[in-house]
Symmetry: C2
Subunit: 338 residues, 2 copies
């Protein structure tokens, strides 16, 4: 087991390295932190920490840098979540208020988060299946062509075009619209498949085909993976790190463009509380030198989606976690109001 002081040394190394981006040596450490011991002692501690795999040296005769395992220990045991300053809180509120619709909320959130953390921000749209049905609308665009519009309590709107097998009368349409709504409004989208199961049976024979078509489109829209959307921002912040660029930045940008990958990544995060995935803990290859800080957000107590940031493993974890948490809370509030 590691002694108290060795943990302190690790904390100091992480903090210094995050600040300077340069490997930190024993002498510099004793100067910048009051550890109360000499460089030689620190060297011994460092050797021990290296044996345990918490730190490493890029080359012999260089300082130490934390390993993924070192950051993990730091995040779990040595660091808390740094609360935001009150000007920052006010800035968040000002920035987020005045959004006109959900797209706007999400857009502002991603910009805000990117600016606050100076890293790449990722915001997932509220999941359909985790939201509640506010309204289902059916519009006749042509005799045999409908548009289905789903509206959630979080303000998300999805629409689909439907080609009907047969023309569908205006009265049938009104009928279907009314029955559909009375059966699903206020319920969770996840339950919709079950709720509408027997709906076609109550219609005239000639309309059943169309009703089934409508329902099958509705169900398709709710399929996981398809129904998730996300927005990213702040990619310019990637250029702030490691000057060995093309190599570092390339795979990250590529990974960020694959929304499926990101969604999976966010999906792996715990539903409640904050999740930090460090370096190789991320399954995707392009992201093995980055960390992901993610948290769920929602209009109520339950998370309807996740948001977070992607940055180098060498990031300011307490500050980033604080910003992510604060933004998630405010977004939740905004959504609850709408």
């Amino acid at each position: 087991m590691l002694s108290e002081r060795r943990l302190e040394v690790l904390r100091a190394i992480v903090q210094d390295y995050v600040g300077t981006e340069e490997p930190v040596g024993s002498k510099a450490l004793t100067q910048r932190h009051q550890l109360g011991v000499s460089p030689a002692t620190v060297r011994n501690d460092m050797a021990a920490l290296e044996d345990e795999g918490f730190i490493a040296q890029p080359h012999t005769s260089a300082g130490r840098i934390p390993t993924d395992k070192g950051y993990r220990l730091f995040v779990d045991k040595l660091a808390g979540v740094k609360p935001l300053s009150s000007p920052e809180r006010r800035a968040i509120q000002n920035f987020l208020d005045g959004a006109v619709d959900l797209d706007d909320v999400v857009g502002r959130t991603v910009r805000l988060l990117a600016q606050l953390t100076r890293q790449v921000a990722v915001v997932q749209y509220p999941s359909l299946t985790r939201s509640t049905v506010r309204h289902v609308e059916l519009l006749a665009l042509a005799p045999a062509r409908l548009m289905l519009v789903l509206i959630t309590d979080t303000g998300r709107v999805e629409q689909r075009l439907i080609d009907c097998p047969a023309p569908f009368g205006e009265t049938s349409l009104a009928d279907l619209r009314a029955r559909l709504n009375s059966c699903v409004v206020g319920r969770r989208f996840a339950d919709v498949p079950q709720l509408v199961q027997e709906l076609p049976d109550s219609f005239e024979q000639e309309d059943r085909g169309t009703v089934s078509t409508v329902l099958s489109v509705l169900l398709e829209t709710l399929v996981e993976e398809t129904e998730e959307r996300l927005v990213i921002g702040g990619t310019a912040n990637l250029t702030r790190f490691g000057h060995d660029f093309p190599l570092t930045i390339r795979p990250v940008l590529e990974a960020l463009e694959e929304h499926v990958v990101l969604l999976k990544l966010l999906g792996e995060a715990k539903d409640s509380g904050m999740t930090v995935r460090i370096g190789h803990e991320n399954a995707h290859e392009g992201l093995t030198s980055t960390s992901v800080v993610a948290v769920g957000y929602g209009s109520g107590d339950e998370a309807v989606a996740k948001l977070g940031v992607v940055g180098p493993t060498r990031m300011d974890y307490p500050g980033t976690m604080g910003a992510v948490r604060a933004v998630a809370r405010y977004v939740g509030q905004i959504l609850a109001e709408s």
Copy 2:
């Protein structure tokens, strides 16, 4: 005026430089192209081209590279638009078919364009004001709270929440919905402000406040600059160029994140036909070493929005232009069908 051969030399320089990314010298030129003259002659031509400002040398004793002016001449006079191969055409069609809604169409388009050109793709959503009204829906979420949903002929859907000054009865709502639709469906959104001007007058005194509120929200939604949306993709392709990265890539990424800038850029492009803006022709500072190839697309003969790519001035113009044009055509077709 430049002789025929000198133009030929310029074309050769552009082609070689685009291919190799290295300054091209007189000797290499004569080897790779059958110009029928000796390197010395080419050197004279190069000196002339340099005097005219079409090419430049990075340092003394280096080869020449085209200037923005050189590319301009190349694009205007020396190069055509390279049509896509038929496998490429088929790939486009396959990729674009099977999109389920407008978001999907736009998303696929941006990925397609990025992949095809290996550059950064930018796709603008069909402009509201240039589209036609397919339907306007008003939903009561609460007694004094409505949701306005606009649907265009291109499949774009916009929604807004409305807080009413007073409760609004179901019959009044149905009334407003009906009158609103009968007055705007099939008309261009740009004309809507005028069309709805006198609508409040025909309502009972007590409902006029709400009707005006609804209309003002409707009009706000149609304000230019606000109503434009766009999607970008393929940013990872930026890493393929110039190994002097952080400096080159940073401002470009930043510019790409400022959608307002991009919208303005696209807005400057001609409505019909293809527009190529080279290097310093782009007003925005971050984009002075990039070129933008943009073209309008639409479901009919009129452009409802633009799409294009952003890449280094040193790009394959004929190929890029071919891809951009082809994609725009197919997207137009897809939109017309929906």
